[in-house]
Structures are given as C-alpha cells and as structure tokens.
C-alpha cells in the first residue's frame, strides 16, 4: 500500500502541519518508501502474540495524596510567547477576518 498526496494531506491535518505543494510531493514520496519498508512486518505471524507498549517493570506507582506548593505563575509564564495580566494570550478561535 503506497500513500497518495490526499492521504498525506489528511495525516498532515491530523498532525497540525501544513506543507507547500512541493513539500507535499516530496513527503508523499518519502513516506511512501518508508511505509513500504515497514510493511515487511506483515510477513511475521503474530497470531495470539500480545502487544508490548511499555517495558517498565513498575505498574501503578502510588504516592501519598499530599498538598505541596506548585510552581509560581510568574515562573510558569517565563517562556510563554505572549501573556497579559497572568494569562496566556492567544488569537481568537474564530478567524479574525470573519469577525468584522
């Protein structure tokens, strides 16, 4: 199964990435090759084989439910690109040009 430009565009949308037309073409080709390479896994018989999604030997680590001071808001704001009065500032969710 190769992948076509429409599918790549759909995945890009899910991943919140945008590509120019040229980039889209390049990525479609490269992703297609990578997908072909990883498809050799279909040769492996995995009937009744459980998945391994983590390899930590600790499970459900518990800690005491104790209140501790959190990080100060000022400190948390240090790397925020735009903020005002202790809040993070972002553009309108609805297109600003549509507001008028």
């Amino acid at each position: 199964m190769a992948i076509n430009a429409n599918e790549v565009e759909h995945v890009a949308k899910l991943a919140k990435l945008a590509f120019s037309k040229d980039e889209l073409q390049k990525f479609t080709g490269q992703l297609g090759e990578i997908i072909e390479m990883v498809q050799q896994l279909s040769d492996v018989d995995t009937e009744n084989v459980p998945v391994t999604t983590h390899i930590s030997n600790s499970q459900g680590v518990m800690r005491e439910d104790k209140a501790v001071p959190g990080t100060s808001r000022d400190l948390l704001m240090e790397n925020v690109p735009q903020h005002q009065d202790g809040y993070i500032k972002v553009p309108a969710i609805i297109d600003e040009s549509e507001e008028a």
């Binding site: 992948i3 790549v8 995945v11 890009a12 899910l14 991943a15 919140k16 990435l17 945008a18 590509f19 990525f27 490269q30 992703l31 090759e33 990578i34 997908i35 390479m37 990883v38 498809q39 050799q40 896994l41 279909s42 492996v44 995995t46 084989v49 459980p50 998945v51 391994t52 999604t53 983590h54 390899i55 930590s56 030997n57 600790s58 680590v61 800690r63 990080t71 400190l75 948390l76 240090e78 790397n79 925020v80 690109p81 735009q82 993070i88 972002v90 553009p91 309108a92 969710i93 609805i94 297109d95 600003e96 040009s97």
Partner: protein, 487 residues
Amino acid sequence: MDYFKYDLAGLHELLVKKELSVSELVKETIVNIKKRDNDVAAFLTLNEEEALRQAEELDRKGFDKDNPLFGIPLGIKDNIVTKNLRTTAASKILENFDPIYNATVMDKLQAAAAITIGKTNMDEFAMGGSTENSAFKVTKNAWDQTKVPGGSSGGSAAAVASGEVIAALGTDTGGSIRQPASFNGIVGVKPTYGRVSRYGIIAFASSLDQVGPLTRSVKDNALVLNAISGLDPHDSTSSKQAVPDFTAKLDGNIKNMRIAVPKEFIGKGVATEVKEAIKKAITTFEKLGAVVDEVSLPHSKYGIPVYYIIASSEASSNLQRFDGIRYGHRAQDVKNLEDVYVKSRSEGFGDEVKRRIMLGTFSLSAGTYDAFFKKAAQVRTLICRDFEHVFADYDLILGPTTPTPAFGIGEDVKDPITMYLNDILTVPVNLAGLPGMSLPAGSSNGLPIGLQLIANRFDEETMYRAGYAFEQATDFHKEVPTFGGQN
C-alpha cells in the same frame, strides 16, 4: 587542559593534591573548547559565566575527596533541560527556550558537584543518526572532519573524543549514544530502561528513551552512571531496583563468562572491516577465558520497521505539546488559534521531525492502527522474547555497534531509509529495554570501529566488567585523534 592525559581518577587526584583548582580546570576547559570547536563544532551553548561562578564556589567550599565528579566540567546533550541555561533540542521551535527547572539527572550531577560546561549539538529532537538534522550547526567527527560524528548524541561524542571534556551525557532512543560513541572511538552506555530518570528529558519516544554517559574509558563511564542512576518520584517508569556501584566488578576477570554472538549481527550488510574487528574481539574474549557461542535472534531483522513505527508514534504524541502557546516559537501573522498551532509547528520543526510525526500519526490513525502500530507492538514482543531465550543461557551478547564506520557528511542525509538502516544493530536493545555499551575495538582507514556489548535487564555490572576486561587487554582506547598536527 589536556584531557587525553587523564582519566577521571587522575583528574580527581590533581584536584585533591591542589595541583589544579576547579576554577583553573574550568577556565582551561573553556579555552580548549573554543579552540577545538573550530574543527568539531560540538557545542551549541557554553555555560561560561555560571560554570566559572560554580567553580569559584567549589574552590571556596573546599574539596570533597570522596566525590569523583567534584569540580569536573561535563558536556550535556541539548535535549536535557538545564535550569536557566538555553535548551533547544537543536530545534528552531525551542530556539529561545530557557527552562525553569532541572532534569533529575542535572540535579544529581549538581549534587555530585559536577559542572555543566555547555550544551552539545544533536539531531533535532534526537531524531537522526548523524547530527546533520540539527537546526543550528553540523558537528564533525573527531577523527576526520569530513565524516559525521554519528547521532543523535553527536555533539557529546565529538566533545569527548576530541578532548574538549572528559565526559558527557547523551540520550539513546534507538542507538543515539552507542552509535556516535562507535563512530568517535569512545565508550557510550545506554542503561537499562528505568535505570535513569527521564524527568526533564525532552521526550522523543517515552518507552525507549534513556540517558547515559559518553566517556573515553569504561571505568569513567561507570563512575558517571553511578551519579545519575536511581528511582525518581518524578518518573514513574524509573526503577526501584537497587543501584550497585558500577565500578565494583571492574577486576578484569571474565573467566567462564558465557557470551553469545547473534549470527544476524555479523551477517549481510555488515562491512568486512567491521566483521574482522569483531572476530578479533571474540578471540580476545576467548583468551580472557570467556566462552563464546553463535546464537540467533531471528526477529532482530524486523527491529528497524518496529522501531520506526513505535518511536514515530510515540513522538507524534509527545511532540503535540509544541503548539506555540506555552513555550517555544509562535508564528506571527496568524488569523486564528488553529493557525498558531499549524504555522508554529510547520515553521519550527525540521524535515526529519516532520517525517516522523507524519509516520507516527499515520501509524496511529483510524484504519491503519491495527496494521501498523499494533502489528509493530506485537513484533516488539517477539524481539523481547528472542533476547529472553538467549539470556536464559548467556551472560552477555556481543556484536558490532554499527554496520560501517562513520560515513561522510551529506552522504546519507538525502535518503531517509539508508539513514534508518544504520540503526539496525542498536534498536533491538531499546525495544527490549536492555543495557548496551559501545567501546573501541579497532579502526579502518583512520575511522574507529565499535564493539557492542548487551546485558540482561539491570545487569549493567556484567557489561561493565566485560568491557573493562576487553579494554585492559587491548590498546584501542589509547588512540586519540590529532588536530592541526598535534594531540
């Protein structure tokens, strides 16, 4: 400071005897880095002022002779967050990021009175095997500046191999410590998954990432791992397992140690000169009294596809946090919130990072999840079982670290799949959560060849013991690169 003349113990002794102050050591280290980085370009950020301040404080406080890292300047890979010290993961998206906290490994190094001398270059978000994916500069191999240093911890490896620092930290998700260690002729260790806290490591693939040391000797490596290991309440995947003194079993005695060589690791695709070096290493181990047999890891050949699906899937999830809102690059000229996300990410991430996010998102999306992510997670189980079978009968697995010595800058970068295949011998170790080491075992046309040792989970001691015995029996670790006609 000529780090080629000393190991950590030797440097420690100079400081104990007051033949050298910590301040002098730090000053000389900075001068040396500035000079040598013209050739290797290993560092992204130097911590000059703060390192000197810390050094003066340590000199005032007086020397702690029980502490082997006291006053030792270290290089730190730039995906390990350092409080108030620029941390970019070599990405434009974090170009101006100054963390407000320390990774647990940094707190531990600080408690050990080690000094962060600077942050080392890497492939962006640790995605790559050549350090060419850095958004900022191309690091060079310490032995030949037309060759890549490997990656993704290429800056850390080149810094140690060129004598800029005596030790550095890297991270290893699919070989990112061992492969650059191999390419630069030094010792690199990826500890068992869970041995070292991942808190404050900019996450790439959370079920695979580990922090580990790069050094010029096995003993130095063990000393650094001693300082950074252990359970951390901030990382629930860090292990309760007791941390032994990793230097305790460095006695050169490996009589009757049972060593397995997977035939898949010395088969097709491995360069002749690499096979030759590994054969010689096997002879050395046999002379030391080890019993070496050939075994099979039949599913290891699927390591690359399994790794690229799992690592990319985890990355696509982990890298969602880079949205231009709370930190990192925020795109200008946006019309709405969605625009902030899409434009900030599209402007901030490099091509390789985008490719992996795309592959991961694809693997996890409806319609492909079963055939890709689930399938890979099942084959991962089979890879783990292969190792379990071998470790039922053997103490250690031995093979090359990489199929070839370092390749040329610009050679592989255009073809992602060729680049991915360089990881074929290292990724199975991450998938199974095992500890792995690369150490010098020869050279070809002036380029180092690495020997990989793999131990059972939480048995780093056996790996260090065998590595030390090999190192003592050979002279490969004594070779150092030359710069401008001198060491």
